[in-house]
Symmetry: C2
Amino acid sequence: MAAATQTFFRSRWVKPPRDVEQLDPAQLAPGFRAAGVACGLKGGGATDVGVLSCDAPETRSALALTRNAAAAAPVRVCRDECDGNSLKAVAVNSGNANAATGEQGYRDALAMRDAAAEALGVEPRNVAVAETGTIGVALDIHAVTTGVREAAQGLSAEGGADFATAIMTTDSGPKRCTVRAGGVTISAQAKGAGMIEPGFATMLCFVQTDAEVEDPEAALRTALAGSMERITVDGQMSTNDTVVLQASGAARAPLPDGLLEAVLLQLALEIVADGEGATRVGRVEVIGAADQDEADRVARAIANSPLVKTALFGRDSNWGRIAQAAGMALAGEELDELGPDRIQAAELAAELPEAELSVNLGRGKARAHVYFSDLTHDYIRINAEYTT
Amino acid sequence: MAAATQTFFRSRWVKPPRDVEQLDPAQLAPGFRAAGVACGLKGGGATDVGVLSCDAPETRSALALTRNAAAAAPVRVCRDECDGNSLKAVAVNSGNANAATGEQGYRDALAMRDAAAEALGVEPRNVAVAETGTIGVALDIHAVTTGVREAAQGLSAEGGADFATAIMTTDSGPKRCTVRAGGVTISAQAKGAGMIEPGFATMLCFVQTDAEVEDPEAALRTALAGSMERITVDGQMSTNDTVVLQASGAARAPLPDGLLEAVLLQLALEIVADGEGATRVGRVEVIGAADQDEADRVARAIANSPLVKTALFGRDSNWGRIAQAAGMALAGEELDELGPDRIQAAELAAELPEAELSVNLGRGKARAHVYFSDLTHDYIRINAEYTT
């Protein structure tokens, strides 16, 4: 089973528990069904509506949403009108973000949710909606509700792969997995790579398990803190980010320690690696910080520095850029000189697609790390040359 | 004289006082002399050491330094060993930043300062030093002190242009001016464009005047707040930024209101326009913010967003990217939807080299603006393909 594990957990930075078995990613965790259909938003027959549902009576769930103050309509609907702790189903469209669409957009997100609830025979408050795609464009709600009904009628236990494909925007491929360990199964689907229109790196992620999860909110919060919240492509927080965890409890066994975080981290790293124009992924670890907030602030300053990101692209082991970014994050404070004795940057220049960097601030014992993509010609091309 | 004014004040965003006369930029404000020489750090005969001195007995001055915690040796020498209020002279090298060079670097910066003081016959504490260029490389202090002595012997009242050229790194040309208004003269020299090695957008700026300036620190602080502190190329704070204002008082007249800020803003805009790979300059104004800090934070988030910067490059009037960046800066707060009724982004797509954007947050009465460059293929090329 170790070999199977390695097939999905491809990064050296992911530390899954032992004896994880990889299943066909089309297969969902027991008790869940999904489908993906084409409603016409994307055109060309591409699937753009996904529905995922849990049949178990006692589903527990947790929901994490973007904190962006310009949140899209579906995020506001989830925040204000859903019961995040008992979500039975999710409905997603990947053709239109339904962001900056005013009151009509909010009504459309509600209509999409209600169509899914009615087709599935569940309460509207038990359905989450997520949308991603163009912003500032009125949603063709008739097409979406028609798609939602069609998907709801086509749900199957083998629909994980179709669902994962239906939620993609500019992703180079679907991001999904189904793994089994400790008598329970987790299936997960994510999307995120940045969008050509309008350029947001919207991240959506859906996780299903038949494990018993006492406190899904705490479990999700902990796992996200070590995965999706530690990545950056371009430092930009999307208006539409949404993560849903659903646990049916049918397996009558708990989640093995670290499995949820390992799954989310692998998917998070795939999002970074598939970032707009990205060719490499970096991991910067800050040690010796005075406190946790400082460690985090310095790590993010380094990960978001365009100078560090272009050095990662250009395979330039330029430790000075790391010193400068760290110094900027600590502006006005006392700092021992950051030279090559304190900064490990050699892997910037290595052939490996993953580069590990570190800096020792020498100010205390706190540490933090962030994963980030490089900044390349293709990032400029994608974001400057495709116009809305 | 209005015509002469326009020759130097080229941006529509600079509002100089009336009747400003432009003089030959080689000409310094009365009482000041300068020179630029080649000491060999850059090679190829390029000038790389500049010295500037004031002959007046009662020079008053002010000094502004980077707050980067990884500040370079010359910045620390200026901070710890100079009397910023009575600077007679400045000595600059543009071949080596003398940053991350340890205790030897600090001794070298002191030696450079002392060589200038001795050659000019002034107290060491009345000399400021500034350095820019490669970092993490030991300074050839013998070459620098030789250059400083040579420059000190070649000072002339017509040395402004030579001095401005000697402080350049990757600047596409010297940034300098000499203007006269209200019976006083201001001459100024600046550099800043980003450096190929190692990529910092170090900004140096020297300003001389024969005006009587009661409180040079306050005058400089106010002028910088409206100019150099409102620009960003890539959101990166250099280890070496230094601004020196010297006022001889010989003209026995005060500075006309707004003249210092207009000079610094024009030079600041030239730095932005000459930013690494830059082709256009944007100005974003945030209005309707709850308070000054919020206005500033949102304006900087928009100006530093790679999505907004690539839209400026790609001439894409993508208001959604402005909404997203503003929403990110206000994460977790209440915000009315930011649509085209609140965001002016049309000039992103205009042919003009300068684009003016605005966003109304509708939360209060505070406002702030920031000037920024676009993000282009050449930024990536410069920072990724030239390795240290």
